[in-house]
């Protein structure tokens, strides 16, 4: 690894997929960046919104691409001391990660703020606000 620290001091993620193998990497990066002292934002959109939606966060499955069943993955994660996705999200929020729900996704699926699980997100924003967050030259922005 290079000894030189780069200039990116903030992490901005788009979590666009509603599968365990997309949401875990997003939350792992977010919680680690937060533990390293970086401000972190996650913009949940399309499938990713499942994690914020009342009643659907507990049933998130791995994609077919991973080649594991939900039970197999849960067993492996438990062995490694990894919390469930809702608990990871909670830990992320407690460590200061800002969680944003996507308003176009909510419009598309006829959702209102009442459909969001209690206390899972900081606000509901659209693409313009996300782009403003990501336009910071110190922001490292990733689409997951």
């Amino acid at each position: 690894m290079s000894e030189q620290l780069h200039g990116k001091k903030k992490l901005v993620l788009v979590a666009s997929k509603g599968t365990a193998d997309a949401l875990y990497p997003a939350l792992i990066l977010a919680t680690t960046a937060s533990a390293q002292g970086m401000p972190v934002h996650i913009y949940f959109t399309f499938g990713g919104m499942k994690l914020l939606t009342r009643g659907s966060a507990g049933g998130i499955k791995p994609s077919a691409d991973l080649g594991l069943s939900q039970e197999q993955l849960a067993g492996l994660l438990q062995k490694g001391g990894m919390p469930s996705l809702p608990d990871m999200l909670k830990a992320a929020r407690e460590s200061g990660v800002k969680i944003h729900a996507c308003s176009p996704t909510m419009n598309l699926f006829g959702m209102t703020e009442k459909d969001l699980a209690d206390g899972v997100c900081d606000d509901v924003i659209g693409a313009a606000t996300f782009l403003q967050l990501a336009s910071d030259p110190e922001a490292l922005a990733l689409f997951i």
Binding site: M1, T32, G80, A91
Partner: protein, 79 residues
Amino acid sequence: MAPDKILDAKGLMCPMPIMKTSQAVRELPVDGVLEILATDPASKPDMEAWCKMTGNELLSASEEPGTPKVYRFTVRKKK
């Protein structure tokens, strides 16, 4: 030097050892020393990177052979 606190993160996978290190260091006074035990294979580069990014001092890093290998670190809280 005796650490002020010991964190046993053996058996935990990334990112839990780093998250728990961050929490434990937050609870220490400045200049306090934390010892961390971990078995995640990326422990050494991850702990080095975490210290570099947060400005805390990695005082020592060692490995104990075994299955799995146990990594032992001491970190001094700088600010």
